[in-house]
Symmetry: C2
Subunit: 389 residues, 2 copies
């Protein structure tokens, strides 16, 4: 590991949207067998790395997230995906912690992925980009930490696919994780969730504009298929009760149904908006790659089918959080993680937050989550010798 | 009501796939305000109508079903959708009951719908077909019963959308329903279910081959979009545990993942097959119309928002059946029907069948459902004075 001089870190921070070329000398060995290098990792940081380099927090984003944890987002102008959680005085207190988030490998916000240029051909990668796994994503992040001169993270955390990465981090690099906070996730993707991802992929690949993944070169974009994929997925991020509370059967700007196929119901209008706004910021091929990485995730499979074996002898302190109304990664999946950690005699606390907001609760205003996590982090920070803000 | 001579009934039965032209003199007044007539209703019958015309059972099919309750299906060659339930000695015993099932208005198996020829223009209706409702479907069925000379049904039953029709039958024509058996349904479509239907519609309408609904005239077919719609819907017909039991994370004819976008997992292969086989037998515009009718269903809305008012003074005996793992029309929705019936002092029995097969359980081998229903029907048949087979 080669630590980067602090002056270089500071210089990069002056830009909006940092990125670094990695793997030029030692390429990234992907699970599929391909050696990837050099490749680019785009990332953002918030707060200041302390002298001891002991206050770094790596946040791992979910399927459609990116490195812009705190906004405004450079494409949408909207707040970051964890604006409620990260900032001065917030749960991940940037007065105390140095927060890092990188765009995932295969993503579409500056990190190498199907949308970026393949240096060998000078054309966009498209489907020539190698298929990646959650472990590959984590390996790339580890190379970023090497570059930043961070030996050990104070915390690695994320929700959904971000939580899978947090688990993989501890399994791959236990000594580099002082604490880990996987939220609303699972140690493996279920059959139902593989099926849901497959619907999204089929929607994209059925769009003639997808052109076998070569749409960029041809100046096309399978926005129709991508919007449908997003709409289908979006339903799984919410709960039935949240949809009922927000929309019920309320009509959209009309007093009676129109007996047609316009968006009569508010929930239809909302869903169409979700689809349309998504395609303005996301790449269809990235959607294929990242959902595939999630499908492939089965942490126990790498450890003789015994999840506890992934965590044997680990000193990392865990806080696992689930939500009562999450049906994508229900509490039962999170509890399976907790059971495995207990079986490995790991240090774990587990909280099931009561919420009707479904899977997306991890992105929303959930005071119980904030308070649980604040307490956990504060105790660990004291243990780690981090100064109070 | 004009009773059809029995000889004519017999003549029609000699054909495969019966159909009748209705509404020539008195058109069907649709909820959207359009008068539809003449229109065709395609139907099948099983068993023999008794002299008293008192043993008729109307079965109402679900979204993608049709009149072929018992197979072989003329298009697919497969068994009918309720082969397990209907036949000599079965729950709906064709030695005792005269079973009728008509293809729903808006459907694509011979009944007037977007796929059929608009008599005014001589071209397929496409989106010029009027948008229909569950109540319209039921009105059309009532006209068929008039044609067949059946004053009162011994039973009206169906699962899913078929159950909605059974409820609507009692609300619209209480004196014509001796018993009603709504299975795995709801008295209104929820926000989540409207959203799920909307995803399917958007998948179809996003397919460029859909051509604003005019694909038939243009010799095209939006099979890609329709297959995606089916795949998304199919997941909702199963349960997480059924998918886990059937497929888990098992791979399809391979020992390792391929790091590609082929169907690595059995559940993907299964889902693709469901999508592909569906498009061979179903029409994309019919899918739009029928899902829309389901979205619009809100029985209480026609009765001052009080569901019980739909059933006041009704003598019909009800048997309501739900399944523990059905998350499309969960037990809570079925219980709401039962509560309303109880509030209207109706005669109702309710059984929640323990099953891990999800919504589709109503089509599958569920001995508890068969036995519950057999007992209910047998008691009612005795009361009605139907002779034993």
């Amino acid at each position: 590991m080669t630590a980067m001089p602090k002056s270089q870190v500071a210089a990069e921070h002056a830009q909006t949207g940092l990125s670094v070329e990695l793997g030029r000398e030692t390429p990234l060995q992907l699970d599929c067998g391909v050696s990837l290098g050099p490749f680019t990792l785009a990332y953002q940081t918030y707060g200041t790395l302390n002298e001891e380099r002991s206050n770094a927090v790596l946040l791992c984003h979910a399927l459609t997230g990116d490195q812009f944890v705190v906004g405004p987002h450079p494409v949408t102008g909207k707040p970051g995906w964890w604006e409620l959680m990260v900032g001065p005085g917030k749960t991940f207190d940037t007065d105390r912690y140095f927060v890092i988030c990188s765009n995932t490998l295969g993503g579409c916000m500056g990190t190498s992925g199907p949308k970026e240029i393949n240096p060998t051909t000078g054309r966009p990668w498209g489907l020539d980009f190698p298929v990646i796994t959650i472990r590959d994503m984590v390996k790339a992040q580890a190379m970023l930490l090497d570059h930043l001169g961070i030996e050990q993270l104070f915390c690695v955390s994320g929700g959904s696919m971000g939580g899978m990465q947090a688990l993989q981090w501890v399994a791959s690099y236990p000594e580099r994780c002082f604490t880990a906070v996987p939220i609303a996730c699972a140690a493996k993707h279920s059959a139902q969730n593989i099926a849901l991802n497959e619907v999204g992929r089929q929607a994209i690949m059925a769009d003639p504009e997808w052109r076998e993944g070569r749409y960029q070169e041809l100046g096309r974009n399978p926005v129709g298929g991508l919007a449908v994929a997003r709409m289908a997925a979006h339903i799984t991020y919410l709960s039935e009760s949240a949809l009922h509370r927000k929309f019920g059967r309320a009509l959209q700007d009309r007093s009676n149904v129109t007996y047609g196929f316009d968006a009569d119901f508010q929930v239809e209008s909302y869903l169409r908006y979700q689809g349309q706004s998504f395609v303005e910021r996301f790449d269809a091929n990235s959607y294929l790659y990242i959902t595939r990485a999630i499908d492939y995730f089965d942490l126990a499979a790498d450890y003789d089918g015994v999840l506890a074996n992934a965590f044997r002898g680990v000193d990392t302190r865990f806080c696992v959080i689930s939500f009562t109304s999450d049906w994508l990664y229900p509490t039962s999946e999170n509890r399976a993680i907790v059971r495995a950690l207990a079986a490995a005699a790991a240090n774990v606390s587990f909280v099931e937050v009561v919420s009707d907001k479904g899977h997306d609760a991890f992105l929303l205003d959930e005071p119980d989550m904030f308070e649980t996590l604040r307490g956990f982090l504060s105790g660990a920070a004291t243990k780690r010798g981090l100064s109070s803000p």
